[in-house]
């Protein structure tokens, strides 16, 4: 399969890329690792007049620790590079990465591309939601920081404007009182999550649960924070019954997706199961 013809421009600098998308008025698309964009163009489910290749922008690559302890992940960092970086110390990220695609996809696919593409079943999107990440977006108009909660607005839709480029994703610094984990039920052929649950739990000195961030992917129109689960977990004990009762709220208020791989009822049931498993695994990491 061959995509429809397009013009190609390899950006030498970030400013070049920003100018190109500002002038393009939506018919210009950024090309990062190409692991979502190229299949779409090949199947002619998407089109572009011009691709602006940001693959060589070294300034968008790599993971660095900010002075305040936060971790800044450059948008062009591949999944494989992320797995080898200090981001692997976040349990939720370490759990999710090996489940994404396959080696070849992880060698090309980038963090910025994953977030911008906003697949309703994106694994990393759920992790970033649970970690309360921030997305840094830049355009010729300037830079802004967007909280990840609210960034995903629908299937393949985000709060990003057409002239904006994601430069990095920032994760809060690690905390001794936090444990995190990811658990997912994959569609056996595609490997995409039919249900993915990302959990960060915060535990008080006496071992009780102080609070939690819980995010799901593959379940609704876009990855989301499961606030009702979080509310039920806050102040809860760690008994199996309490955790299961909290996890049962995983799809509260969500228009659960049903498809040929998993009907609505099954997905709803599995959302609760995988949320519970992720909570248990996150707690287990704290000992």
């Amino acid at each position: 399969m061959i995509p429809a013809a397009f013009d190609y421009q390899r950006s030498a600098t970030l400013d070049d890329a920003l100018k190109a998308i500002a002038d393009g008025g939506g018919t210009v698309k950024l090309l990062a690792g190409g692991q979502s964009l190229l299949p779409l163009l090949k199947l002619r489910l998407g089109s572009a007049d011009r691709l602006v290749d940001i693959g060589r922008l070294g300034e968008l690559k790599g993971v660095r620790r900010l002075p305040d302890g936060r971790l800044a992940i450059g948008a062009m960092t591949t999944y494989s590079e992320l797995a080898a970086s200090s981001a692997r110390h976040y349990g939720v990220v370490a759990d999710a990465l090996p489940t994404i695609g396959d080696v070849q996809v992880r060698n090309r696919g980038t963090v910025g591309g994953a977030v911008a593409h906003a697949d309703p079943a994106s694994d990393l999107a759920a992790c970033f939601l649970a970690l309360d990440a921030e997305i840094v977006a830049r355009s010729v108009r300037g830079e802004r920081t967007i909280p990840v909660d609210g960034f995903f607005t629908g299937p393949f839709s985000t709060a990003l404007a057409t002239d904006e480029l994601i430069t990095e994703v920032r994760l809060p610094g690690p905390r001794d009182d936090a444990g995190s984990a990811y658990a997912s039920l994959e569609q056996p052929a595609s490997g995409y999550a039919m249900v993915g649950a990302a959990v960060v739990v915060f535990v008080a000195g006496d071992g009780s649960i102080e609070g939690a961030n819980v995010a799901l992917t593959g379940v609704g129109p876009h990855p989301y924070r499961a606030r009702a689960v979080e509310a039920a977990l806050a102040g809860s004990d760690r008994s199996a019954a309490s955790l299961a009762a909290a996890a049962a709220h995983a799809t509260d208020g969500i228009d659960v997706v049903g498809d040929i791989h998993a009907g609505r009822e099954y997905r709803t049931a599995m959302a609760a199961v995988y949320t519970r498993r992720a909570i248990e695994a996150a707690l287990a990491r704290l000992g």
Binding site: M1, I2, P3, A4, A5, F6, D7, Y8, R10, L31, G34, Q35, L38, P39, L41, K42, L43, L51, D53, G55, S80, P98, G101, D102, V103, Q104, V105, N107, R108, S190, G191
Partner: protein, 165 residues
């Protein structure tokens, strides 16, 4: 409109004029006559088109030729040392890791990516590594055995097998 690209393929500097939409796999197979790299699904699923770009396994049906500008590309044709098979090629032969051979070039390039990072992978690690490579006829048992054998050979000093006719 065509783009001029310069890259190194199996150690040889190459230059091509390609349309931006030309896939890396097309450039390799059709422009450079390197037909060892196969196209199975053409939809990023099967891994038959796997090659190395700057030492990393990638699906060449899911990469534009222009994205390989300035890169070092290695295909299955670049693995053997003259007539001496690479330990992975020898082990696929020895362990019967192929029947029709369609998936084999991609399977071997993915396995080579694994062994470059992990000299002694467990069976689970091998299976996880070839997750993106589909074999429709051999079954995975012998493929895993072949990768394990190649790892052993490389660890023990890389004794390779001379190709015999």
């Amino acid at each position: 409109m065509s783009e001029h690209i310069t890259f190194v393929v199996n150690g040889i500097p190459r230059e091509l004029d390609v349309e931006p939409r030309r896939l890396l796999v097309q450039a390799l197979r059709e422009d450079l006559d390197l037909t060892g790299t196969h196209v199975g699904c053409d939809t990023s699923q099967c891994g038959a088109c796997t090659v190395h770009v700057d030492g990393m396994a990638v699906k060449s049906c899911t990469m534009l030729a222009v994205q390989a500008e300035g890169s070092e590309v290695r295909t299955i044709e670049g693995l053997a040392d003259g007539d001496t098979l690479h330990p992975l090629q020898a082990a696929f032969w020895e362990k019967h890791g192929l029947q029709c051979g369609f998936c084999t070039p991609g399977m071997i390039m993915t396995a080579a990516d694994l062994l470059a990072r992990n000299a002694d992978p467990s069976d689970d690690e091998i299976r996880h590594a070839i997750d993106g490579n589909i074999c429709r006829c051999t079954g995975y048992q012998n493929i895993v055995a072949a990768v394990r054998e190649a790892a052993r050979v490389i660890r023990s000093g890389g004794a390779t097998v001379a190709a015999q006719g």
